[in-house]
C-alpha cells in the first residue's frame, strides 16, 4: 500500500503532514528562499553579518549589513513568509468549505471588505474635522481594515443564512455579490480621493509588506500557531464536507458549526493580512491548487502544505518587489500574480501531459 493513499490514524494529523517528503522539500526551499532574500537588497548581507548579533552588546551596536539584516530585513522576510502562510491556509480552508477549487477569500469579499473599510476611512477621515492623536493614527487603518474583514464575514453568514438557508452554494453567491459591492465602494473612494489619498489607497489595493516589524511578526506567528492548532481539529470534518453537505451531516458533522468556525478563522487570518499588508491576491487561490495538483485533495495534508507554498510564493514575490527597482519598491500584489500565474500554468501543463 503506498504511503500517499494510506489512511493515517485520525489522531495524528497535521504534524504527520509536515514531515512527509513533499513537506521536507518545501521546508528546504523555504529556508533557501529566506537565505537568498536576506542577502538580496540595497545592502548585500554577508554570512558574517548573521553572527554579528552574538558579538553585539549595548556598547557595540549593530552596524552596516548586520543592522540591515537584524532590524530591517529579517523581520520583513519572516513577516512575508507568515503572511503567505496565512493566505495559503485561508485559501485551503475556503476551497474546502465551498467544495470549489475556484473559491478564495478574495472572491468572497473578505479581502475587498477589509480594503473597502480602509479606503472609506482614508477618504472620509480626511474630509471630516475629527482630530486624531498621532499615536492613534498608526493603528486606525489596520483596525478598520480588520473590522471590515470581520464585518463582511458576519454579513456574509447572516445574509446567506437568511436568503439561502443551509446552502453552501448560496453562501458563495452571496459572497460574490458582497465582493462586487465592496469593490464598487473602493472604486468610488478612488474617484473621490485626492492625489495624496490615492497613494495611500494604492497600498491597500495592491499590497505591501513594508510595514513589517518584529512585534508584528511575533503577533502574526502567535495567531498562525493558534490557527494551526485549531485547524488540526477541523481537517477531518473538512474532508467529510467533500461528500456533500447532506452526507457530511449523516456521518456526524455539524455543517452549520463547521461553516461558522471556518468563516471566523478565514476572517481572522485575512483580516490580519489585509490590515497590515493590504490586498495581496492570488496566493489564497493558487497555493492550495499547487498542493492539490501534486499531492491530492486530502485536507489533512492540503492545509499545512498550502501554508508552506503560500509562504514561499509571497517571500519570492516580496523579494522581487523590493529588489527589482532599488531603491524604489513595487507593490507586492503585482508580483504575486506576475510570478505565480506563469508558474501555475506551467504546472497545469505538466499535469495535463502526465495524465
Amino acid at each position: 500500500m503506498s504511503a500517499s493513499t494510506n489512511v493515517m490514524p485520525f489522531a495524528s494529523r497535521l504534524t504527520a503532514g509536515l514531515i512527509h517528503r513533499p513537506a521536507l522539500f518545501l521546508w528546504v526551499t523555504l529556508i533557501i528562499c529566506i537565505w537568498v532574500a536576506a542577502w538580496a537588497g540595497a545592502v548585500n548581507v554577508m554570512p558574517a553579518d548573521w553572527l554579528a548579533l552574538l558579538q553585539a552588546g549595548d556598547d557595540q551596536p549593530l552596524t552596516g549589513g548586520a543592522y540591515v539584516l537584524w532590524n530591517l530585513r529579517l523581520p520583513r522576510i519572516l513577516f512575508a513568509a507568515l503572511i503567505g502562510a496565512a493566505l495559503g491556509l485561508s485559501g485551503a480552508l475556503t476551497q474546502g468549505l465551498f467544495r470549489n477549487p475556484l473559491a478564495d477569500p478574495g472572491l468572497l469579499g473578505v479581502t475587498s471588505g477589509a480594503a473597502c473599510a480602509a479606503a472609506l476611512t482614508i477618504v472620509l477621515l480626511a474630509n471630516s474635522d475629527i482630530h486624531i492623536p498621532i499615536s492613534l493614527r498608526y493603528w486606525i487603518l489596520p483596525v478598520t481594515a480588520f473590522a471590515g474583514a470581520i464585518g463582511v464575514c458576519f454579513l456574509l453568514d447572516t445574509v446567506a443564512r437568511w436568503l439561502t438557508a443551509d446552502s453552501i452554494a448560496g453562501l458563495l453567491l452571496t459572497g460574490i455579490a458582497l465582493n462586487a459591492l465592496a469593490t464598487a465602494v473602493i472604486g468610488l473612494c478612488t474617484y473621490l480621493a485626492t492625489d495624496e489619498q490615492l497613494r495611500s489607497l494604492t497600498f491597500w489595493t495592491l499590497g505591501s509588506l513594508a510595514g513589517a516589524s518584529w512585534p508584528l511578526m511575533l503577533a502574526l506567528l502567535a495567531l498562525l500557531l493558534a490557527a494551526v492548532w485549531y485547524v488540526r481539529r477541523l481537517v477531518n470534518e473538512m474532508n467529510a464536507l467533500a461528500l456533500g453537505e447532506a452526507t457530511a451531516a449523516h456521518v456526524g458533522v455539524n455543517v452549520r458549526h463547521l461553516r461558522a468556525r471556518v468563516i471566523t478563522l478565514v476572517a481572522l487570518l485575512c483580516g490580519f493580512a489585509v490590515a497590515w499588508c493590504g490586498m495581496i491576491g492570488f496566493i489564497g487561490l493558487v497555493a492550495p491548487h499547487i498542493v492539490r495538483l501534486v499531492i491530492g485533495p486530502d485536507q489533512r495534508r492540503l492545509a499545512p502544505l498550502s501554508m508552506l507554498v503560500g509562504a514561499i510564493i509571497l517571500l519570492v514575490a516580496d523579494t522581487a518587489a523590493r529588489t527589482v527597482a532599488i531603491p524604489a519598491e513595487i507593490p507586492v500584489g503585482i508580483f504575486t500574480a506576475l510570478l505565480g500565474a506563469p508558474f501555475f500554468l506551467v504546472l497545469l501543463a505538466g499535469i495535463r501531459k502526465g495524465t
Binding site: M1, S2, S4, T5, N6, V7, P9, F10, A11, R99, N100, P101, N236, E237, N239, A240, L241, A242, L243, G244, A246, T247, A249, H250, V251, G252, V253, N254, R292, G296, P297, D298
Partner: protein
Amino acid sequence: MSPPTHHETLLALQNVTIDLGKRTFGPFTLSVKAGERIAVLGPSGAGKSTLLKLLARELTPADGQATFCQRHLKEWSLADLSHRRAILPQSHEVAFGLPVELVIGLGRVARTFDPDITNIVRQAAELACAGHLLERRFDTLSGGEKARVQMARVFAQLWDVEKGLLLVDEPLAALDPGLQFSLMDAIYTFAAQRGHAILAILHDINQALQGFERLIFIKDGSMTGDYTSQQITIPLLEALYEVSLISAVSDSGEFIVAPSKAQKSF
C-alpha cells in the same frame, strides 16, 4: 448504554407531519424494530424521499413525535446519531477526487478515538466488493464502482455497532442486474450479522418482495399501507402504482411481478 434487548424498537414515528411550505406530508405512524427489513414503495413524487429525509433528520417534523432509541430525534447530536444510523444516498458525487480509502474512512469521522479504522475500512471495502478500488481516486471510478465505495463507507460507519438503522435511498437503480444482486446481498449480510434494521426506498417491486419482510406504501404524501410481504396481493400493488400488473411464479418458486398493457380503471 445498556445492551439493547431483542426486537427493541429503534425508531418510532407518532402522527408525524412534515411541512415543506408548498406541500405537507403525513401523518406518518411507523415503528422500526432492530433487525427488520422494510421496503418503502410508491410512485415517484409520493413522498418516499421526504420520509427518508425526516428519518435522516434532514427535515424536522412540523407536528407529532419522532423518537430514535427512545429518545426524541431532535435531542440527538449529529455525531451520536451517526454511530447508530447510516444513510446510503441516491447520488454519489464527491468533490475534489479524494482517495477511495479516505472516502470509506470518512464514514467514521465522528469517532474521536478510532484505532482500528484501517482494518475496518479494508473489511468494509471487501464486503462491498470494493476491495480492489482502495488505491484509486474516487473521481476516476465508474458509476457502479462509486456505488460500491459509498456502500463500503456506510458499512464502515456501522461496522462495530449492533442494532443500528440503515436507510437506503434507491442506490442501485442504475446498476446492472448482477451487481445489484451482489450488493443487495452484501447489505443483507451486513445488517443480519449486526441486527441492524434496513429501511430501503425501492422502485423494483420484485426486489422488495424477495428481500424484504415488510412493505410500506406511500402515496400522495401519506402512508397508505403497512404490510408483511405475505400479505401483498396484485390488487394492492395495482392500486398503489395505478397500473395493471401481471404475475408469474418462477421454477424456483419466486413470485415475479411485471407491468401489463391491459387497461384497468382504478
